[in-house]
């Protein structure tokens, strides 16, 4: 696991001693990235995938991501579903109740842009990023739990790269494939 290896690099063994030394920010950034508790802001069918992600088949507890019913316990808000103009103030209020530092995942096309409700709809907010600072977008209608898992892992890399202490941001080796890594023509792209 690249994450464990990074911690090993941050640790400094003292020769002959039974202790290890590290900096507070290195251990804090490491632990912060591995306990991204979710605020499950599920409002539509994406919430079913979000719920499935928490249960035994996908088991996001192994990533340290567990859903919490109280926004004051959580680190990342997963907006899973259509947000209407009536719901938006409630979502914003829950977001403001979350303690800093906090992140946001827009799960599904509705949360990204309004999705199928973009045109000819009077009641739907066209993307949750109109009022929340979204860190990771997941496309899909709805996305599979694997896509949410990819988003959690990408967010973890972002969290671990930005340090708790100012000016100590670090570069980490990504374990996730980039879009440019995909073989050309494999995804149904017209050549």
């Amino acid at each position: 696991m690249a994450g464990i290896d990074d911690v090993a690099k941050a640790l400094e063994r003292v020769p002959g001693g039974g202790i290890i030394l590290t900096s507070i920010d290195a251990i804090a950034d490491w632990s912060r990235g591995y306990s991204l508790w979710m605020m499950p802001m599920g409002t539509a069918c994406c919430a079913m995938e979000l719920i499935a992600a928490s249960f035994s088949k996908f088991d996001f507890d192994r990533h340290g991501s567990i859903p919490r019913p109280d926004p004051r316990h959580t680190d990342v808000m997963v907006v899973a579903g259509t947000i209407t103009h009536k719901m938006a103030p409630s979502v914003k209020r829950l977001w403001e109740q979350m303690p800093d530092p906090k992140w946001c995942i827009a799960m599904g096309n509705c949360a990204i842009s309004g999705g199928i409700f973009y045109y000819d709809t009077y009641s739907v907010v066209r993307g949750v990023d109109e009022f929340l600072p979204v860190d990771v977008y997941i496309a899909g209608c709805p996305p599979r739990p694997e896509a949410l898992q990819d988003a959690i892992l990408r967010l973890r890399e972002k969290v671990r790269a930005e340090s708790v202490s100012p000016g100590r941001a670090r570069t980490i080796e990504s374990i996730l494939p980039l879009p440019s890594d995909a073989p050309r023509g494999s995804g149904g792209d017209a050549e």
Partner: protein, 153 residues
């Protein structure tokens, strides 16, 4: 009870409502004037229709049609009560005193069609924000925030 038995039962109990009764789509239909809606609804409840499943409306341009879907658990038969209200004065008596379930249904119809229900205990918007302007399910509703789908999509 089938619909023919329902017709006989209705005509025996309420002869004045009998000519308003018809059968459509496997349900009994009662087409009443808007002024007589509440008394007809009270008669339907006395007849045994103890469940109000749905209240909705249709915009026909010059008037709105209100649709109440009733069901009798004892007779195991459904009944649709329909009435029309003019667009200029869309108002009808509330049936919340007969079926408390009508409360939120009538609020929804008020929210989306702008039909007022006289005697409703708490008639305010239910689905849209309280400061919303207009009633979106009316055919002439215009919202500058709506993006129209282009022809090529």
């Amino acid at each position: 009870m089938n619909l023919n038995e329902l017709r006989e039962h209705l005509c025996a109990t309420y002869p004045d409502l009998c000519p308003l009764f018809s059968v459509e789509f496997g349900d009994g239909v009662m087409q009443v004037a808007s002024s007589g809606l509440h008394s007809a609804a009270a008669d339907m409840k006395a007849l045994g229709f103890d469940m109000l499943g749905m209240v909705t409306a249709v915009d026909f341009g010059e008037d709105f049609e209100l649709i109440y879907r009733l069901r009798s658990r004892e007779m195991r038969v459904g009944m649709i009560v329909r009435t029309r209200v003019p667009r200029g004065n869309p108002s009808v008596a509330s049936v919340t005193d007969l079926w408390p379930a009508a409360n939120w249904h009538e609020r929804e119809v008020y929210d989306l069609f702008g039909i007022t229900f006289e005697g409703h205990p708490d008639l305010r918007r239910i689905l849209l924000p309280d400061d919303w302007v207009g009633h979106p399910l009316r055919k002439d509703y215009e919202d500058p925030g709506v993006i129209r789908r282009p022809d090529y999509l």
